[in-house]
């Protein structure tokens, strides 16, 4: 403890500490204020007009370029940049060159809020596009909503986003993520009753994009009279699904409908192969829809007849998709099947802004919001329309592994080949 003589020193030290802390506080505030320029509190970016021809159209985007979502974050970045490059090569949007300002949110919700705050109130960007993942889209959308910015976003399709009833949100995929099993349900319904499965198992991953898909399908199938013999939700760190698979193998269901993500889908297929159990129908929500990774993980011979769902397909003929695929190949190389659908989703966001600009001649947030709320809009994701909450009103497509290739098979208007069933035994 400071002795009596130390009292004075102690006070000096304390004074110094105060000075330092105040100094830091001031320094931070001054820097922030200086960087921020005028810190006026009114921002009416909503009324940015397009009259400022020649001035670049700046679009702010926060993406997860590091952290847990960094892989899809980078895929989205590719899509956005490809769109900006393509559109600038053709004279820009409404005569204005597009300038993207992409910042990193490190997969953190606090940072995503900070980033959109900074983009809108500090950098005063003209438009903002969405980040990757529902988990970050929600907080970001509500910041954008506050300032009247349209929030056209490629990845946040979970119910929590639409539940907020924000009129500025537009999810750029044909259907809300949870409805991705609908085409499969419709396909089963289209089969003659004798060919339909009688029993089903629903093992699903606890993930915002997985188990709810299976839940929704289970309800529909139960209404069709298909008996549920097994249902479970396993946590995301369950890397080994052998025990889960063992359980439903024992019930011998005709159909396995699994709300999967990626590794868990592979693990389930492998465990079924090991157990020598081949149901008549296998639907894996995600994982099986990856054209290159799925066969490499489970073996190409084990893919035959497996169903999955998709919002976009490389060989689709939808609006501008062939051009997108060609541009992607020219820019990043690889085959069309290496393109992550997140890139296409991000590209589609840009296409919509372009379409609004073409139709109205304007690119301000008010126009974008009111335009997108009426009518149907074209993109590589298909023609999309939204309800008041930004939930898309279309339908995803059913994909199936046919002849060693992943193909859209249902609904018929997007199918490139016919669906086949029942699934052949493992090994083809």
């Amino acid at each position: 403890m400071p002795a009596a003589g130390g009292q004075k020193e102690g006070q000096n030290v304390r004074r110094l500490v105060v000075l330092i802390s105040l100094g830091v506080l001031l320094a931070v505030s001054v820097t922030l204020a200086a960087c921020g320029g005028s810190s006026s509190s009114s921002t009416n970016a909503g009324s940015t007009s397009s009259s400022a021809n020649g001035k670049p159209l700046t679009i702010g985007i926060s993406l997860s370029l590091s952290g847990d979502f960094s892989d899809p974050g980078h895929a989205a970045q590719k899509g956005y940049q490809l769109w900006a490059k393509t559109v600038n090569a053709n004279g820009g949007v409404a005569g204005r060159k597009v300038k993207l300002k992409i910042v990193d949110d490190a997969s953190s919700p606090n940072q995503v809020v900070t980033n959109y705050q900074n983009l809108i109130t500090r950098d005063k960007v003209d438009l903002v596009f969405g980040p990757f993942s529902t988990l970050l889209t929600g907080p970001a959308a509500s910041v954008a909503h506050r300032y009247g910015y349209a929030f056209v976003e490629p990845a946040g399709g979970g119910p929590a986003v639409f539940q907020e009833h924000l009129n500025n949100v537009f999810f750029v995929q044909p259907a809300p993520t949870l409805n991705c099993g609908d085409p499969f349900v419709a396909y089963i319904k289209s089969l003659p009753a004798s060919q339909r499965p009688k029993t089903a198992a629903y093992p699903s991953l606890d993930d915002p994009f997985s188990s709810p898909i299976a839940d929704r399908m289970q309800k529909a199938f139960e209404a069709m009279g298909i008996k549920t013999v097994y249902k479970t939700i396993y946590p995301s760190e369950t890397a080994d699904l052998t025990p889960v698979v063992e359980k439903y193998v024992a019930k011998k269901p005709d159909m396995v409908v699994a709300g999967t993500q990626s590794e868990d889908a592979y693990s389930q297929v492998k465990a079924m192969v090991q157990a020598g159990f081949s149901p008549k129908f296998v639907f894996l929500a995600n994982g099986a829809n990856s054209p290159t990774e799925f066969p490499s993980k489970v073996g190409a011979k084990n893919t035959e007849g497996i169903f999955s769902c998709g919002d976009w397909f490389p060989t689709s003929k939808a609006n501008g998709n062939p051009q997108f695929v060609a541009a992607y190949k020219a820019q990043y190389g690889g085959t069309p099947f290496d393109i992550d659908s997140t890139s296409a989703e991000a590209y589609a966001v840009g296409q919509l802004i372009q379409a609004v600009a073409k139709k109205t001649g304007k690119v301000d947030n008010k126009t974008i919001i009111s335009s997108l709320h009426s009518g149907t809009w074209p993109s590589v994701e298909g023609n999309i329309s939204w309800n008041a909450d930004g939930s898309p009103q279309g339908s995803d497509m059913l994909l199936e592994w046919v002849g060693g290739k992943l193909q859209p098979v249902y609904p018929p208007n997007v199918a490139l080949t016919k669906p086949t069933s029942p699934k052949p035994p493992w090994g083809g």
Binding site: D68, T232, I233, E237, A239, D240, P243, V244, A250
Partner: protein, 292 residues
């Protein structure tokens, strides 16, 4: 009943690998009272290294264990010298927790830069093979992984009980002050002990990568399990850690199969609470410094 026995087999095989993972952790605590929160990250690092050797050079993970463990042993010694030794002895126990946590974050960060953040798994040609014994199937990879863990743990046991180095290490665990008085170079033993700990993590990581998909953030889940295991076994007790690991592995698998996979990771916590209430020093811990 069939499912129950099948779950027990799976759990036992997984428990063997947990035992290898936990052995290094409890050893490091015993020797220098350091709780190495980075043990999980080291395991994941081992998994990535053997994944790279397998995908780039086609070296089987069981072979790469032989190559990687000496290398990672050295890395462990260096880490101990750079990050643990400078900590003041009276604060080492608490500061080492934070330092190793920072190390874990550093390793996670490094791996996410090098490998990105999606899941990987090391898939060998025999990955899908399994034997059928009396109607139960035993995955080849898991049996090999279990076997390897047993072999390494047996080696560790021999080193600790039959060699001069092992004797000095056990002396340090029991009483560092008198060990020092008896001429044991405690700092040297600590560095080597940490090296061994990291080496076991690497070996366990190589097989972990074959059994389970992993990504740079997998270490959080691993470390929380391993810490529960060593608390259950008694901090610093090698035998306790092995028995606790086998028990936890089986308990988790049975819980997952019989009750619910969603809640199975809670077996670890339930057991941990029970231990804290009934026997805070762990099953095999003593109130003295941990016995080996």
């Amino acid at each position: 009943m069939h499912l129950f026995i099948q779950a027990c087999i799976l759990g036992l095989l997984a428990g063997g690998v947990y035992a290898l993972m936990a052995s290094g952790l409890t050893l490091a605590f015993g020797v220098m009272r350091v709780i190495n929160v980075a043990q999980g990250a080291m395991i994941v690092l081992g998994a990535f290294l053997s994944y790279t050797l397998f995908t780039k050079l086609h070296i089987d993970p069981f072979v790469s264990v032989v190559l990687l463990t000496p290398l990672m042993f050295l890395v462990g010694v260096v880490l101990q010298l750079v990050f643990i030794r400078p900590l003041r002895a009276d604060e080492r126990e608490e500061l080492s927790l934070l330092v190793t946590w920072a190390l874990a974050l550093g390793i996670e960060g490094l791996l996410s830069v090098l490998y990105k953040t999606n899941y990987r798994s090391t898939i060998t040609s025999y990955a899908d093979n399994s034997w059928r014994v009396l109607g139960y199937h035993l995955s080849e990879v898991r049996v090999f992984a279990f076997g390897m863990s047993v072999v390494i743990l047996a080696l560790l046991y021999v080193v600790l009980t039959r060699t001069e180095f092992g004797r000095t290490m056990r002396a340090t665990v029991q009483n560092p002050v008198s060990a020092r008085l008896l001429g044991v170079n405690v700092e040297r033993v600590s560095a080597l002990g940490f090296g061994i700990s990291v080496a076991t993590a690497t070996a366990a990581g190589a097989v972990f990568g074959m059994v389970t998909p992993f990504f740079p953030g997998s270490h959080y889940d691993l470390i929380s399990r391993l810490l529960s295991i060593i608390v259950l076994g008694g901090l610093g007790s090698l035998g306790g850690a092995i028995i606790a690991a086998l028990f936890m592995g089986m308990a988790e698998a049975v819980f997952a199969a019989e009750i619910s996979p969603t809640w199975s990771s809670f077996t670890f916590f339930i057991v941990l609470i029970a231990i804290l209430l009934l026997r805070p020093q762990g099953l095999f811990g003593t109130n003295e410094r941990g016995a080996l």
